[in-house]
Symmetry: C2
Subunit: 341 residues, 2 copies
DNA sequence: GTTAACAAGTAAATCGTTTGCACAGATTAT
DNA sequence: ATAATCTGTGCAAACGATTTACTTGTTAAC
């Protein structure tokens, strides 16, 4: 069917091993032979069978990204894509391929990971978020598979991971609102299980405490990383007797929902309610008003995490935990006084 | 190292072939043996080596998506992600994995495809756009590899593909503006090589011609699927002696740039310039004003195209060319009279 | 009671590579 | 001149599955 190493060998009048050595640029092969074999190779359009190669080398030059449980939902958040962009840039550079796989629930997700790892289909993987007591992380450590986590593990200190200082980031975001004179600041949050959510919550409360500003249960709403989540949160938060006049929002897409919700309720932004959000996706500057957002270096996150996995595969020593710096990008949504031209 | 079929065989007191047959649910295996072997299998945590399996079966349960040349750029367009969402939904459903690979120029792209196909790494692939005289399509047809194109081939009639009726879509978009009383309608276009761009251009001119409205070279600008592209187009289009009062824009992200450009030049939308765009990505309704857009069923496009590839792999007869219906979603950006509440 | 049919399982070849070991001839060291 | 080392290559055994063709023990048929 397809042209194999044997065909090349026969045509070049050498043994298959020699052809293999030519491909691998083995030093013991003479220049003459190498040239001749190579000529035959492209004359025949030979390409090594990657499966056979992988089988014997136990290597696939493939990294997997596991799509968390509600892949459908995850994929609605643009943060993810910016991340993947970074991942792809790194992997392509290194000549690795990216495999995307998922499951429709936590069990299936684990099954997928086990299948890929035990089945020898991948050389390493990238985990996007970490839940508390994550069975996948547990499995990967046990099996000693190269992997890196984007985020922070709540269970183990020494999991290779790339993260932001989310406590500090939320602290900065909240303080930015405080600096604008805001006194009643709420928090539109994400899934409580995630380390990221917990850290940002910590930063938020810390800033409030330091400024001696009130923290109210009713000003905090937990949700998903979805537009509707932010939209719905407004109904509940703004129906409080004394609603907040400023909001820290866990994610830009959620903030889009917040914008929509507030607009429908008749609030003006930022005059009535000021907003600071996270991730600074490309479209945050296009909404009306543009959203102030903490840039977490999403692309860098993906790029660095992939690099980490690649290094682990090459047995290069790595720093277990890398922090990508964040940066507050101020736009109109958070400013006390705004001038429209 | 890893537990193999032989280990299972030994422990279960049968031959490797029997274990293999148990896995494949071969009818010639007795229930008793099957049970016993299966018990041993999960006692040992056995998982078949996918490479070995692929080697002999010449099958990988993997579909590749080739990222076009400027992957970095492509990934900035959200249209792509919605597409991938559809692809993943279909593939996950069918138990296939998705491999994303790319190259940094057309040659590398082709090389990647050749490597993956000849190397037996994938069972089929999905092409995102088609250029004229695309060497990749040429190669895939020659090699008889299952693949589907999202879009339309300019070279071959019978390439399996999923597409919109882009001529009609652009015709509808333009007519919508005409119905609003617009007389001077421009077109912010995409790369001229792409079938999609050409088709939309055709629909646009057709609508103008039928309505006996003027077509002016200066009102048409070619660009990329990038925000900046739309932004820059405004400088050139609006500096015409008689600038258009309405624009058909090739893509939502480009339209975002158009919005930004027009705002900076002091035009109000839709009062001074009305806009209709394509793809209807999630954020089109969040801009100010929300953008009227042709929903092309992006998710469906990805979902259907993947299905087509899977069918080809399973040797099921397919319709070579499927058309996904489009739908005009009217929002404020295109309306003659607007009321803000 | 012999043979044919069948059920359940095994042995061995195969898929396309890589790689340790062997070996012949050339080169260098002593 | 002989031993020791180097060079360049081939043989054959992996890697971990699947699958064809063969064995064996039972049951049914005549």
């Amino acid at each position: 069917m397809s042209v194999t190493i044997k065909d090349v060998a026969k045509k070049a009048g050498v043994s298959p091993s020699t052809v293999s050595r030519v491909i691998a640029e083995h030093p013991r092969i003479s220049v003459a032979t190498s040239k001749r074999v190579k000529a035959v190779m492209d004359q025949l359009g030979y390409h090594p069978n990657l499966m056979a190669k992988s089988l014997v080398s136990r290597t696939t030059r493939t990294i997997a990204v596991i799509l968390p449980k509600p892949a459908e939902e995850l994929l609605l958040n643009f943060f993810f894509y910016e991340l993947i962009r970074g991942v792809l840039a790194q992997l392509t550079r290194a000549g690795y391929d990216l495999l995307m796989a998922g499951g429709s629930n936590e069990q299936e997700e684990l099954d997928t990971v086990v299948r890929l790892v035990r089945g020898g289909r991948i050389d390493g993987l990238l985990l996007l978020y970490s839940r508390s007591s994550d069975p996948i992380i547990h499995f990967l450590r046990k099996e000693n598979v190269p992997f890196a986590l984007i985020g922070r593990s709540l269970d183990y200190e020494d999991v290779p991971s790339v993260d932001n200082d989310n406590v500090q980031a939320a602290y900065d975001a909240t303080n930015h609102l405080i600096a604008q004179g805001q006194k009643r600041i709420g928090f539109v949050s994400g899934p409580a299980k995630l380390a990221m959510t917990q850290d940002r919550m910590t930063g938020y409360t810390k800033a409030l405490a330091e400024a001696k500003l009130p923290f109210k249960e009713g000003w905090v709403v937990e949700g998903e990383f979805l537009l509707e989540s932010g939209y719905r949160a407004m109904a509940s938060i703004m129906s409080q007797p004394e609603p907040p006049t400023a909001l820290v929002v866990i994610d830009d897409v959620v903030a889009f929902g917040v914008l929509k919700g507030l607009a429908e309720l008749g609030y003006r932004i930022p005059q009535d309610v000021a907003i600071v959000s996270f991730n600074n996706i490309a479209l945050s500057e296009l909404t009306m008003p543009p959203i102030t957002s903490i840039d977490v270096g999403t692309y860098q996150l993906g790029y660095t995490a992939s690099q980490m996995v690649l290094r682990m595969i090459q047995q290069v020593e790595i720093t277990a935990r890398q922090i990508i710096p964040h940066r507050l990008v101020v736009r109109e949504s958070s400013l006390r006084t705004v001038t429209y031209n």
